[in-house]
Symmetry: none
Subunit: 233 residues, 2 copies
């Protein structure tokens, strides 16, 4: 599976290190920032999957950063868990109102932290993945693992299924072969990029003549794009 990246934002380095250790044991990648400004830069540059955000920080407060994140479309849906000292718990209502997904009071146990992170990531994933997706005549049900087009069931291999799944949640955007390899095959794969071509071919075949050039478009020199819109080339 894909390794998720978590950004911890806190001005106390002890907290950051504790969290980092816990996260790495649990198989996450961890980034650190000690103030809101660095955090914002890291979020833009590294696009982490989740942010742990301390409430009280010098300069810009966590709440301000949170609001800033929510305002920008690129980061609007990024899961954020706020960290807070016991005494500030009352403020958390404000935090949740501003778009935090969860919060934890210091001190917290690493176990609980990991649990909440997992939960938040699962919810985020669920938002993107668990509902059946229907585009045009194509019905994709990730729970039952069924794919049909105009009520006619399709058959495809696991890789084609993942590939289709990836495309469905990333429509109208061109991905290079390398990016597709990363997302669909997961992590650091050393593999011939042309393999992607072959699986694209197989997926197209599986989608049948209807979806042949309709859904998956080749963008010469760039990669592939899934789109339900017909594009005049």
């Amino acid at each position: 599976m894909e390794e998720s990246t978590v950004l911890i934002v806190d001005d106390e380095s002890a907290i950051r290190d504790m969290v980092t250790v816990a996260l790495e044991v649990a198989g996450y990648r961890c980034l650190q920032a000690e103030n809101a400004r660095d955090a914002h830069a890291l979020i833009i540059d590294e696009s982490p999957d989740l942010v742990l955000l301390d409430w009280m920080m010098p300069e810009t407060s966590g709440l301000e950063l949170l609001r800033r994140l929510r305002r920008d479309e690129l980061t609007a849906k990024l899961p954020v868990i706020m960290l807070t000292a016991k005494a500030e718990e009352d403020n958390m209502i404000q935090g949740l109102d501003s778009g935090a997904d969860d919060y934890m009071s210091k001190p917290f146990s690493p176990r609980e932290l990991i649990a909440r992170i997992k939960s938040a990531l699962r919810r985020q994933d669920a938002k993107n993945q668990e509902e059946p997706i229907q585009v045009d005549g194509l019905l994709f049900d990730p729970i039952s693992h069924h794919v049909s087009i105009n009520d006619k069931a399709l058959s495809m291999g696991p890789t084609e299924f993942r590939l289709l799944s990836f495309f469905l949640s990333h429509q109208d955007r061109v991905y290079s072969r390398g990016q597709i390899l990363d997302h669909v095959w997961g992590g650091n794969v050393y593999m011939d990029e042309r393999t992607v071509d072959v699986h694209i071919r197989r997926l197209r075949k599986a989608l049948g003549i209807d979806g042949h050039e309709r859904f998956i478009q080749t963008v010469r020199g760039a990669g592939y794009r899934f789109s339900q819109k017909l594009v005049a080339d």
Copy 2:
């Protein structure tokens, strides 16, 4: 790669010189202005890639200039890093709210300065690569690799796409064939400069009769210019 131009705006010439040295060592081009009025003129004329802006200046303050830049569409997305004395740090919230991308407290180390500049330029690059650009009837979407004019999809080769992309982020300025070769074909290319002519021709063709002479103008003896404004030669 491309050499970025940075404009330093400060009323203290010592600061300006120090920054200039640091920037030139790091491979940037550097412009100087000692007040907001000159700065504004330079921004319009030279279109720098980033502005270092002092907070306190006689006459117009940095903050006012910043607001002015943000109001004008042409300069709205120009990265601005504010410079501030320690004592004024509280005001920086106001600065960030007004659209500064970052700030630095004097005195600062050249290293840190360069790091922040790099980071800001990187972010700007990312933004430019991600956001669709619309000028007149022309819509350029780098994410989906779609180009359309008056909602009619256009088709063009990868090189024409890159060429258009370059022009869109460098409008209203004449580029020689050599410069275009450098920017669009990347780095040290040994190639017939007249190849550029051919690709200009292809791009014009792809843009259709509408954009034929409208967007890309020939400047005899100098090169080409992309502009949404009609220019009387």
